[in-house]
Symmetry: C2
Subunit: 347 residues, 2 copies
């Protein structure tokens, strides 16, 4: 077994603290990655505090992992020692259901094996990227293009693919008008990716403070959602809305901003149901859909797309000793736009 150091939540109420645990020895298809960077996703906080239920403790969070391959199993064919590699939100799946066979492992019928707070085949809990190293089957590892910096790439493994996948699935592109709701970790990636796809992007935010950021990121328009005028001015304007907000908000107001046949795609997940009025859907054949991350093939495609278009996440690099403070700042929306832990700080 491989002794590994990380930061863990020992219980749902606890701050994260140093924690030593074991990774499995490499199987023939495994690679060992020395982690250099790991992004902090809002999901980490939900999970570390057991806000969605089902969390497993002690828990080492982190599913936006980049590092260097330092060892490979005897049968590994896709990776070599020394390569920069990434791991996202899952590290395995059943591999046999129709979703897995189509490369949609995120919709695996047996459920994907989450990178942390999952239960591996041997029954042991998985542990995430706030740690020095990770052992992962090569089929669930991503290649990080050399044009991308490891730190700015880590958040692509969750925030990037979460926004890229629905934009591609629904064919968002040139000639479309897209609203991005919320300009946080997910939202700022959505603006960058949609821009690269040639889409006209409007940022809808609760906060006037985000106007400059929206401008700088290349948004075509910006509107404040606390002003009722926004919802009259932009009525029936958008082909698509990508909703990244995980706090409860009124879906119906946003649905009315869609054109006929428009689709609002939820990637943020409020933990409580939101009242949905059927008429705004019915009278304009609109849809509300959801989407979660992406499969391995599509995540690799996203990384290559980002390399081509020079897209990285805007980040604030922190030592792991500041993780609890970073959590508080994420909850206050005080981050532009993603904290990334520099695992050098664990040495």
């Amino acid at each position: 077994m491989l002794s590994t150091r990380g930061y863990a939540a020992m219980t749902a109420k606890a701050a994260l603290q140093p924690f030593v645990f074991e990774r499995r020895d490499l199987g023939p298809h495994d690679v060992l990655i020395a982690i250099t960077h790991c992004g902090i996703c809002h999901t980490d906080i939900h999970q570390a505090r057991d806000e969605w239920g089902g969390s497993i403790f002690p828990m080492v969070p982190g599913h936006e992992i980049v590092g260097t391959i330092t060892q490979i199993g005897s049968a590994v064919r896709q990776f070599s020692i020394g390569e920069t590699a990434g791991v996202g939100c899952f590290v395995d799946s059943c591999r046999t259901c129709s979703a897995c066979r189509e490369g949609l492992e995120q919709y695996c019928e047996a459920g994907m094996l989450l990178t942390y707070s999952g239960r591996d085949k041997d029954g042991k809990p998985t542990q995430g990227g706030y740690s020095t190293q990770i052992v992962v089957d090569e089929n669930y590892v991503l290649r990080i293009p050399s044009a991308l910096s490891p730190a700015g790439t880590a958040p692509l493994l969750c925030a990037g693919i979460t926004t890229y996948s629905p934009l591609r699935h629904w064919g968002v592109g040139k000639y479309h008008k897209l609203a991005v709701v919320g300009l946080g970790g997910l939202g700022h990636m959505a603006v960058k990716i949609a821009n690269a796809l040639g889409t006209e992007v409007t940022v809808l935010s609760t906060s006037e403070r985000k106007r400059k950021d929206a401008d700088r990121l290349g948004a075509f328009d910006f509107a404040i959602t606390s002003q009722p005028e926004t919802f009259t001015r932009l009525q029936r304007r958008f082909d698509f809305i990508l909703d990244t907000v995980s706090a409860p908000h009124d879906y119906n107001a946003y649905v009315n901003l869609l054109r006929t046949d428009g689709t609002m795609i939820l990637v943020g997940a409020p933990d409580k149901p939101t009242p949905l009025a059927p008429f705004p859907l019915i009278l304009h054949r609109r849809s509300i859909a959801g989407s979660v991350i992406g499969g391995i093939r599509e995540t690799q495609e996203m990384l290559d797309f980002c390399a081509t278009h020079k897209i990285e996440s805007d980040i604030e690099l922190i030592p792991i000793q500041q993780v609890n403070e970073a959590y508080e700042r994420v909850l206050r929306g005080d981050v532009r736009f993603r904290f990334v832990i520099d695992l050098e700080s664990m040495k």
Copy 2:
């Protein structure tokens, strides 16, 4: 002006009563239809009782109209005197917006002109098919194929197209599994049409009494929605759900019956918002969509499709003097599956 007899709600609280009113003289593009049959749609009741707001009184309801053309305007080219013709939920639209130009008049940006309780260009309220005759621009009139009976065809103009249009728009066909929620006027048409499209249909109903009907209509399966077991047995089973129910119900329970990438289509419209949980959408990339009736071109296509497949509505023919009693029976769900008024009774 053409003096016309019908039945009207004089106010939102009133029972329908005999009413004499005037239709416009024929313009060059108008046809005059002597109405022989008019279906009773649940919407008629909502509107006659002003349950959705905005109703105009006195109101002659009725938007499932079939009759015989008895007079045509000087420029009419598509219809001849003596032909059997139909009128559905709208009698005009702006004709210039992109929706109208695409034949999607039901999504007209200026709003379609409703067959009744609408406001015509001259400011006068439109009046519906519980009456002896109607004047309509030929571009908003349907041709009734001779293979179809006028009485059994009247409900196709609303219940038929309301279910046909989304089934076609979303490409429901062979190899798909469809659940139809609610076996009333809309639901029984959905079963017939989906059967003709080669789809495997499951009827979901609150009422065990509907099991035999579902069987007779050709449904593959039937399940009672008041039994929790239904929602475990059928979990992730359907590619599509067509929800025809206009009473409030738990959308989330139904969403969980969809496969990954499945779509639940609302054509019934509860007048109150329903709590929507985002996770069931997000975790399987499911959608909830809405759809309303269909355009003129698609309605004609539906009528021709029904003629080919020998599809009519199951009806109970009544004289207009029984319309108030019929309303009460509709509200009790005591109709298999559509009341159609025989306008002979007005003579």
